[in-house]
């Protein structure tokens, strides 16, 4: 049994650990009867042990689909991974047989979902569902697995764990259910935990408790955390790095402090302006105009250009940097910051 090297991650600093997860130019499309939907169009990122990467984006930006692709739990058909690689501890999961991929899920990478009530099986006790991890991956006996389940429920701070291990999901509150999900996900000390909007369905005080729990668990185990969310507040509090997704692509990436202080992509800029500010009480929020793109017909050039106030088209544009014609690559703008905009320097004001 390989345990995460705790010595290395006792004081996790952004980017200090070794990369445990590397996503390289991932493409996912949904082949439906009414056409092809391009959900993920070349997403790349790396995650180090002990690091927290937030993936930020609105509904339909491809953030959840890319996570499900990593987990190998896409519904296919209709979803098909059409390109790229997913490297876990240096090995490309996509080229491995299904059985090898399965063995990674749980002890290697695990995932928690937004709606814990529907994500837990209603007809089995929580103890059984947590214990399943040990039974399926380690061949633990049923009795022993239940003991481990109680330990894990204690660890995620469910009060009276021993008494509640035989209870069913519907007998728990929303926050406690999400803790059950977390207990299940961390059961086998995974190197990477993907949390897909873990707090969206919870009320604010419970949100904070769940995020604190995740941070504490991460500190104890040194696992990498991919936090998928559209909640800018959560990102600001817990993440080291942030990747902003739009139309199935990463449009900006950098440390949370940098990105939140000064965005390098007009879309990120728009997101930041849509946060209510305490000091600007009573003022109007600035929404991003227009609708999220239709992934079955992504606009040419920069996918954000129809909604962008800084777009330059035709004669206005610099040669090869026409927002409606030339696709902007994700490029280094300033050290530690990448953005996919032809005019990032102007957005940043450098």
């Amino acid at each position: 049994m390989t345990r995460p090297d705790l010595s290395k991650t006792s004081a996790p600093a952004p980017g200090a650990g070794t990369p445990v997860l590397e996503v390289d130019d991932l493409h996912v499309e949904f082949r439906t009867r009414s056409g092809v939907v391009n959900a993920v169009n070349g997403v790349s990122y790396t995650l180090a042990a002990g690091e927290t990467l937030a993936i930020l984006g609105e509904s339909g930006s491809g953030k959840s689909v890319s996570a499900q692709a990593i987990m190998g739990i896409l519904d296919s058909p209709p979803a098909v991974i059409t390109g790229g690689g997913i490297f876990f501890e240096g090995k490309d999961l996509l080229t491995q047989p299904a059985e090898e991929q399965r063995k990674v899920r749980g002890p290697g990478i695990s995932m928690i979902f937004q709606d814990a009530l529907s994500s837990l099986n209603p007809v089995y006790s929580v103890g059984f569902q947590i214990g399943e991890m040990f039974r399926a991956h380690r061949g633990t006996s049923r009795k022993e697995a239940k003991k481990k389940a109680v330990e894990l429920m204690d660890r995620v701070r469910i009060p009276g764990a021993a008494a509640r291990v035989d209870d069913y999901p519907h007998q728990f509150s929303g926050g406690m259910r999400q803790r059950v999900m977390i207990a299940m996900a961390i059961a086998l000390d995974p190197r990477v935990l993907i949390a897909d909007e873990p707090t969206t369905a919870l009320d604010v005080t419970v949100q904070a408790q769940v995020m604190d729990l995740l941070k504490d668990l991460q500190r104890d185990t040194g696992m990498g955390l991919v936090l998928i969310t559209h909640d800018l507040g959560v990102v600001n509090e817990v993440a080291d790095e942030v990747a902003v997704m739009y139309a199935g692509k990463i449009v900006e990436r950098g440390t949370v402090d940098d990105v939140f202080t000064d965005a390098a992509h007009p879309y990120t800029d728009g997101l930041m302006s849509s946060i209510p500010q305490l000091e600007a009480k009573g003022g109007r929020l600035t929404p991003i105009v227009g609708q999220p793109p239709n992934l079955a017909a992504i606009p040419s050039g920069c996918p954000f250009h129809p909604r962008c106030s800084r777009r330059r088209i035709g004669a206005e544009a610099a040669p090869g940097r026409d927002c409606a014609a030339d696709v902007p690559p994700l490029r280094l703008v300033v050290p530690g910051r990448e953005a996919a905009c032809h005019y990032s320097e102007e957005v940043l004001g450098v």
Binding site: F113, S118, S125
Partner: protein
């Protein structure tokens, strides 16, 4: 749970009273004179007719007749038919035949229906799915009588695989009538299972089961089928009562001496005591199996509580 079951059992009493009265009234309302029919071509002597009419309370008003019937029933007396045979004897003799037939039908319905439905539901729009869809549509559309005669002709006469009449060959005699009796329900079970499995395959908790790295077999059997089969099991349970009623046609066509056949004959001969006794028994089975289903439902789905 105990209190719930007790309450439900108590509720069956008024239902049984109401049902038996309705049947009693319908037999009473039938045109024709059952006593006169007994004699065939030669009329019975007036004294004999009077004696029989008196023995069977036939000249009393409906309510009095019914009250006398229930009074006897409460003492365990199901009455006698016009030939002096105890109705209870008819029931105890013929019930095993109907139970066997129903058991065979339920076995067909559950085994074939569930397997077909699961295979269709796991691969939606695949070959098996379409096969199940088409064949279940055909089976549902054809009347049970046609199905019975066609199967008798093909499997019994042409291929000589099964006996087509009577119960002289033990369990083998029940295979063909069991299949015919089950056909409609079988098609329904296959459809129900298919829809339920297909729906559950997309459930969030099945996605979770995959994300946990459980083996494919465990994901399907433990996390998809268990939940999918809850509505199916409850349907099959409730169907036991329905099939016992449906056995009337099947038993007549296949000449099986069960209670369905008995009730069919009794209606033709206006044997009130036999009809009411047997049909009330069928109603009781129906209510009983529905209660079993409701209890089973709470066992299968922990979210259901009857307290």
């Amino acid at each position: 749970m105990g209190r719930y079951v007790a309450r439900r059992l108590l509720l069956t009493i008024p239902v049984l009273i109401g049902a038996s009265f309705l049947i009693f009234a319908m037999v009473y309302a039938l045109p024709g004179d059952p006593i006169r029919a007994l004699g065939g071509d030669r009329p019975l002597a007036p004294a004999v007719v009077a004696q029989l009419r008196d023995d069977y309370n036939l000249d009393d008003p409906l309510l009095i007749q019914y009250a006398k019937y229930v009074g006897d029933l409460l003492q365990g007396d199901f009455g006698t038919d016009f030939r002096g045979r105890a109705v209870l004897d008819t029931i105890t003799q013929r019930l095993p035949v109907t139970i066997r037939l129903t058991a065979v039908a339920i076995a067909f319905e559950a085994v074939i229906g569930i397997i077909a439905g699961v295979l269709a539901g796991i691969r939606r729009n695949g070959f098996l799915d379409n096969l199940v869809l088409v064949s279940s549509t055909v089976v549902v559309s054809v009347p049970i009588l046609v199905l019975a005669f066609v199967s008798q002709f093909v499997f019994g006469l042409q291929l000589g695989l099964f006996p087509i009449s009577g119960i002289s060959e033990g369990w083998r005699s029940f295979l063909l009538p069991g299949l015919v009796l089950a056909a409609g329900s079988l098609a329904y079970v296959a459809r129900l299972t298919r829809t339920s499995v297909a729906e559950n395959m997309r459930a969030d908790y099945v996605r979770t089961a995959k994300a946990k790295g459980l083996p494919h077999r465990t994901v399907i059997i433990r996390h998809t089928l268990r939940n999918s089969l809850i509505p199916v099991v409850t349907f099959i349970g409730a169907d036991i009562g329905t099939l016992m009623g449906g056995a009337i046609v099947t038993e007549s066509v296949f000449n099986l001496p069960g209670i369905g056949r008995a009730v069919f004959d009794a209606v033709r001969q206006q044997e009130g005591a036999v009809v009411v006794g047997i049909v009330t028994l069928m109603v009781f089975f129906f209510i009983f199996f529905n209660l079993v289903v409701d209890v089973l439902y709470a066992v299968l789905d922990p979210r259901i509580r009857y307290d």
